[in-house]
Amino acid sequence: MNVSSRRYSTAVVLQVSGRLDQDTCDAFRGQLMGHVDSAAREAGAVVLDLSALEYVSSAGLRCFMLASRQAKAQHGRIFVAQLQPMVAEIFQISHFNLVFQVFPTVREALGAVSAEAAAAYEKA
């Protein structure tokens, strides 16, 4: 599992790749929570780009849930975008599509954050 980040205006896009399961979720959670905390302090948002995520287990989904709860507690925002078909189906099966706003593309998720974030993404 790897995580890379890019900033677009007030939004941070985290691209998560590989498998997110019990073996990798601790390392992921640490990185994710740090970004959620920073984004909330800057009145920004986190967009999770899951286009390269191959698999997520219940332990991985729990990381997303903890991030969502922390974002809500800090009045921050977190969005999910560009899920591969298998991960999209796992989101539906586990009812995580009711917890997160899921967007077909990172561009659309950034559009939900702000016009500036979407414009910055298009310029990049």
Partner: protein
């Protein structure tokens, strides 16, 4: 060793309402629109083969009570939820006035797991022997308390059966009339215990009222060991995963998805979703079953896991 489900609902008994029955009937008629049936048998075949389970059946509403049927004369029962009432009727009819010997294994003593005992007919029959096994110190106290005034008109000491309480130690195997049983501690308010039953080369795990903390690898591996290669795992799948780890975290229950994952780890053969949320209707429960089956397909390695949902009246042979 046959498994017979007398009560499969969690927390509190529920029943279909008249509106529920009318709705099922209306939906069945819509799906049969244009069809004609020359006989009851034709209509029955249509209902059995073409309509969803949730239209033609109900998962039922009794709280936990599961019977393990073995070749001998004695009875083996997990929990004394409200399903113990119809189980008692069954035992009395089968015994035909002969006193029975009933071995009960208690997951814990929350009300939904003991509420059927005051209505368990064999408890009123002199000569009947009832051995209530469990790991809780408060086992006998709980059974006596619910039959104390002003909660119930018949006090525990007035029951005709000879009732014995047998304290078990977690992770220690016991032999009970040819059945090997091993209790295992589970995460639940006031603790609960799962049981692994083994007989004649077959194994059944009864694991209800058990929350699983997903971040704890040691806990997951411990349960995978407890479920290892089991023929049937009866599993607390009260919620969908998102619900179980958000608004209902720390409520002491688990999800269909975690059931699939643990049984895959354990290479168990058959997962049976159990302890259904009382707020869920039959269509919702069937949806959770379909989702669990799809999750199993998506995540299957070299080991296929069968997934079912328990309902009152279901019988399974490992």
């Amino acid at each position: 060793m046959r498994v017979r489900f007398w009560g499969t609902r969690g927390s509190i008994p529920v029943a279909l309402t008249s509106a529920d029955v009318r709705d099922k009937l209306a939906q069945a008629l819509v799906q049969a629109s244009g069809r004609t049936f020359a006989s009851y048998e034709e209509a029955h075949a249509f209902a059995s083969s073409e309509l969803d389970f949730s239209l033609t059946h109900t998962f039922g509403g009794h709280t936990p009570c599961v019977e393990l049927v073995l070749p001998g004369e004695e009875y083996f029962v997990c929990d004394m939820g409200s399903g113990a009432r119809p189980l008692g009727v069954h035992i009395l009819a089968r015994q035909a006035r002969r006193p029975a010997t009933v071995n009960v294994f208690m997951s814990h003593v929350h009300w939904d797991h003991i509420m059927g005992f005051p209505f368990f007919g064999p408890a009123y029959v002199p000569g009947t022997k009832i051995r209530i096994h469990g790991c809780h110190d408060v086992l006998e106290h709980a059974f006596r308390l619910q039959q104390s005034p002003p909660c119930f008109p018949v006090e525990f000491d007035q029951l005709g059966a000879t009732i014995e309480f047998v304290k078990l130690t977690p992770d220690q195997p016991y032999e009970v009339d040819g059945l090997t049983v091993t209790p295992h501690l589970q995460l639940h308010s006031g603790d609960s215990y799962g049981y692994r039953f083994q007989h004649d080369g077959k194994s059944v795990v009864y694991s209800t009222d058990s929350e699983h903390k997903l971040e704890n690898r040691a806990e997951a591996e411990g349960f995978a060991q407890f479920f290892r290669d089991a023929d049937i795992v009866i599993f607390d799948a009260m919620y969908a995963l998102a619900e179980a780890i958000s608004v209902k975290a720390d409520w002491g229950h688990s999800s269909n998805i975690v059931g699939v994952e643990l049984c895959q780890m354990a290479r168990a053969k058959h997962l049976v979703l159990f302890h259904h949320e009382p707020a869920n209707n039959d269509a919702t429960l069937e949806g959770l079953l379909k989702e669990a089956r799809r999750f199993e397909e998506l995540t299957r390695g070299d080991h296929a896991l069968k997934v079912s949902a328990a309902y009152d009246g279901l019988e399974l042979d490992p």
